[in-house]
């Protein structure tokens, strides 16, 4: 079997960083080849170069032995390269078939879309690769896993021989991951090459033929999956031994800090998405909210923060109602939040590290002085301290947060939120998209905050994370808390079943 792709000495730099430094990478026909590395290792950049989204500064690309210049995704598609991005590129209001044929629509009478033919072609394709979809379903009504299948089919419809999957499992439930892996195996059977970008060791081990490890823009090595081990891979990836997550014993549970009674609220589409939710979070406790995404978690957080109107219900902090308090008042009273989407709601990307570190406290001493003066000296001083204390890897405190890696951005959020001595922390998907090092770091800090007496509410789609960190676990399903369990008296299977609505309390 020959090389489907060979990339030689690819170098790509961005202002301030070298994303790829003389990277060599090849994929054989009919091979599943994983690109493994931490966030910011340069995996996605390398594949974006292959897909024609970035132009490399140096280096050559060969497709099936022939040197090519790929200067646009259109060119990449012509060469038989398909890419499924982390964020899907589907038109939400179109049907599955329409999305799949988009750009190469079968037509009748020259200009009209032949919807039936589009649906037929989709059905054929879906059968051929064992990727089940309903061609007539409207895309935005489908679960994420199915939308991803549509993305894969879209690439195959365009004749992809080489399929790049960028962190495909990060948005999927465990069941969906299983299905995806089956599909990948089927594609391999058909002789397609699959490039699987991931930072999850377990998954990479499960489906790869070969694994190439990237670290800080450089190739650490390419290994055969059969002859390597978890430990070896982790070592290659991290540059040191894999740190284990240290879980301390239960801290002593204290008084109730936050109490929610009968929380009921609508979502943006005016659909009831919280149905009389009750829970309590105690001092020195992590309450895990387990659930498949989209079961009301976002609305719950917004309601707690004061960003969404409650239809019914009461929120009590230390026994005092704060149901009608503004966001600002809640923050003053000791609320703290690590939002789900750090780039969208947690940070101001075009602010510097130090400016982001005071966000939310800019109007309080020591930063605010008389006559609205902002004490920049104090801001800088505290920023230096926090950069040290939370080991934020930034060139300096003036660097724009936009230029930092995902893990470092999250550290900025964590440093800001934890340093203001909160009483109640909402941590929503706090380790999403982070590499092993940063994940472990954030988790350790969360446990530390709990041990210092904070009440922590952890919302995560990652069941392992919930089980590893929570003292108690509440399962949210279709806007209701369907069960609450002590961590020691439950297991992954039970929680998993509750999350999918298979059992009820």
């Amino acid at each position: 079997m020959g090389n489907a792709v060979r990339m030689v000495a690819i170098t790509k730099s961005f202002p301030g960083t070298i994303a790829n430094d003389r990277v060599d990478f090849d994929v054989e026909e009919g091979e599943v080849h994983s690109l493994l590395g931490e966030n910011g290792a340069g995996k996605t950049v390398l594949m974006s170069i292959l897909y024609g989204m970035y132009k490399p500064d140096e280096g050559q690309i060969f497709i099936k032995g022939r040197e090519v210049k790929i200067d646009s995704p259109a060119k990449a598609i012509d060469l038989g390269i398909g890419m499924v991005h982390q964020h899907f590129m589907l038109v939400p209001s179109l049907t599955v078939a329409e999305n799949i044929v988009l750009g190469r629509e079968p037509v009748k009478n020259k200009y009209l879309l032949d919807a039936f033919k589009a649906a037929d072609e989709t059905r054929d394709l879906s059968k051929k690769y064992g990727l089940e979809v309903d061609p007539t379903a409207v895309t935005n009504t489908l679960p994420v896993g199915v939308q991803q299948r549509v993305e894969i089919l879209k690439a195959l419809f365009r004749g992809a021989e080489i399929l790049i999957l960028d962190e495909p499992t990060s948005v999927l439930t465990p069941q969906e991951v299983g299905e995806l892996f089956k599909a990948v195996a089927a594609l391999k059977q058909q002789g397609k090459s699959v490039i699987f970008i991931s930072h999850k060791l377990k998954e990479v081990r499960e489906i790869s033929d070969r694994i190439t490890v990237l670290r800080r823009g450089r190739i650490v090595g390419t290994v055969n999956n059969k002859t390597t081990s978890m430990e070896e891979l982790a070592k290659m990836m991290m540059g040191h031994e894999m740190p284990s997550i240290i879980m301390k014993d239960h801290a002593k549970q204290g008084e109730t800090v936050l109490r929610a009674e009968g929380l009921t609220a609508f979502n943006d589409r005016k659909i009831l998405s919280l149905k009389s939710i009750n829970f309590e979070v105690h001092q020195s406790e992590i309450l895990g909210i387990a659930g498949v995404e989209g079961n009301g978690q976002s609305q719950l957080i917004e309601v707690l923060m004061g960003l969404r109107k409650l239809e019914k219900g009461t929120i009590l902090l230390n026994g005092k109602p704060i149901t009608n308090a503004s966001v600002h008042e809640r923050l003053e009273k000791g609320f703290s939040i690590i939002p789900e989407d750090r780039q969208k709601t947690g940070l101001i990307l075009d602010f510097s590290v130090s400016e982001n570190l005071i966000l939310g406290q800019q109007d309080k001493p020591p930063f605010a002085e008389k006559l609205f003066r902002l004490n920049l000296e104090k801001e800088g001083e505290i920023a230096e301290e926090l950069i040290q204390e939370y080991s934020i890897q930034t060139p300096n405190k003036e660097t724009l947060v936009r230029h930092l890696s995902g893990g470092t951005q999250q550290k900025v959020v964590v440093a800001r939120e934890f340093s203001k001595q909160p009483k109640f922390i909402i941590a929503s998907q706090p380790t999403r998209g982070l590499d092993i090092g940063a994940t472990e770091y954030v988790r350790r800090r969360l446990v530390e905050m709990r041990d210092r007496g904070c009440a922590v509410m952890l919302i995560s789609a990652d069941l392992d994370e919930i089980i590893a960190l929570s003292d108690r676990i509440a399962v949210i399903y279709e806007g209701k808390i369907v069960a609450t369990r002590e961590r020691d008296r439950t297991n992954e299977i039970e929680i998993g079943l509750l999350m999918t609505g298979a059992t009820n309390d």
């Binding site: 966001v327 947690g346 940070l347 990307l349 075009d350 400016e355 800019q362 109007d363 902002l374």
Partner: protein, 369 residues
């Protein structure tokens, strides 16, 4: 080490710092410089095509703008109101808003200042003048406040409301100076303001008044506001990421109203400065579109208050030089509008500059030392 040596080293460091700042900002403004050169080149073609000599026309313009003390005075006079409106646009823009109502805010600011300047008499200068300026600030602020509240409470888009409010301001002031407040005579204007409300003139013969100093002070104050105060921090936070600002407990509605009020107030002083310093009475339609020029100046100034000073003076020079050009060479004044429009067009097309740089142009300016 002697004290002298330390001093000289410090001095050297300071000079180096200023030098690197200057070269840095020059490098950053290459697109603008290119845009201006390109605009004048195309302007030359237009002049040639209409039968004028570009060299002669531009020569006359240059002499008119900076050839003598009178020219410089007129250039700065013309630059003053444009700098105010540029700052107004810039400030709202930092909050993520498009304040297209600077024209109206300037008119109402000027009108309020005129009313105070005329109706109060017998006050000492140090009371009357500040009162008249405050009236201008107040008038502009109201004109900024209304669209801001409409946006915060009703979601009305500020582009529409601010632009429309400019027309309301134009016709309302026009009504007043044509009917109830009209001075005797044929011209649509009020009677002169009291001398105690006049902003002093800076240069004899020219119309350059202390309003110019106020405009520079306003630019510096805007820098301070944006970079050194909690208000500026919150305004920028809202402009860059309203969701994150809201999450951090910043009241985004309050922030945007405040930004528009300050923005309107700045344009308002601009109007007051024109009335109290230049015309000394309210003349119907005294602004030939300063509000709209301000938008262009803010863009050319790189949405930076200090850059806006330079850009405003450039526009002032084109305007005042244009008048000399018109008188001495007969080139119609419209060429000024063509030049200004071309500058804006080229500044708004940054990709053009990228193309030139790719082709290897301007290496001498872009290369790092």
């Amino acid at each position: 080490m002697t004290e002298d040596q330390t001093m000289s080293r410090k001095g050297k460091q300071l000079v180096e710092k200023i030098w690197s700042w200057l070269t840095g900002s020059l490098r950053n403004s290459i697109p603008q410089i290119v845009a201006i050169i390109a605009a004048f080149l195309i302007g030359a073609i237009v002049l040639l095509a209409t039968g004028f000599s570009p060299l002669e026309a531009y020569g006359a313009m240059l002499i008119g703008a900076i050839g003598d003390i009178y020219g410089i005075g007129q250039t700065l006079t013309q630059a003053t109101p444009i700098l105010f409106t540029a700052l107004a646009f810039l400030l709202s823009f930092k909050c993520g808003l498009f304040n297209l109502g600077a024209e109206g805010q300037l008119l109402i600011g000027g009108f309020f200042a005129a009313v105070v300047g005329i109706s109060l008499t017998g006050l000492p200068v140090f009371v009357h003048l500040p009162l008249a300026l405050l009236a201008g600030i107040f008038g502009g602020a109201i004109m900024g406040f209304i669209p801001a509240v409409l946006k915060a409470k009703l979601g009305a888009h500020e582009v529409i409301t601010t632009m429309m409010s400019s027309y309301v301001a134009l016709y309302v002031t026009s009504y007043f100076v044509n009917y109830p407040l009209k001075a005797p005579g044929w011209v649509s204007q009020t009677i002169p303001i009291a001398p105690s409300a006049e902003l002093p003139r800076l240069l004899p013969v020219t119309q350059l008044s202390a309003a110019f100093i106020l405009s520079i002070a306003a630019a510096l104050a805007t820098v301070y506001l944006l970079d050194r105060t909690t208000i500026g921090y919150e305004i920028k936070a809202i402009g860059l990421n309203p969701l994150a600002a809201r999450n951090a407990g910043i009241n985004t509605n309050k922030g945007l109203i405040l930004a528009m009020v300050i923005s309107g107030a700045i344009a308002g002083i601009g109007g007051a400065g024109e009335i109290l310093g230049v015309h000394r009475r309210f003349i119907d339609g005294f602004s030939p579109g300063y509000g709209w020029d301000g938008l262009a100046v803010a863009l050319i100034g790189g949405l930076n208050p200090l850059g806006s000073i330079v850009a405003a003076i450039l526009f002032g020079a084109i305007r005042s030089g244009g008048i000399t050009m018109n008188v001495s060479t007969g080139v119609p004044l419209d060429i000024i509008n063509i030049l200004q429009a071309l500058v804006v067009l080229f500044v708004a097309a940054p990709k053009l500059f990228g193309y030139i740089r790719k082709k290897g142009g301007f290496k001498w300016l872009t290369s790092q030392t």
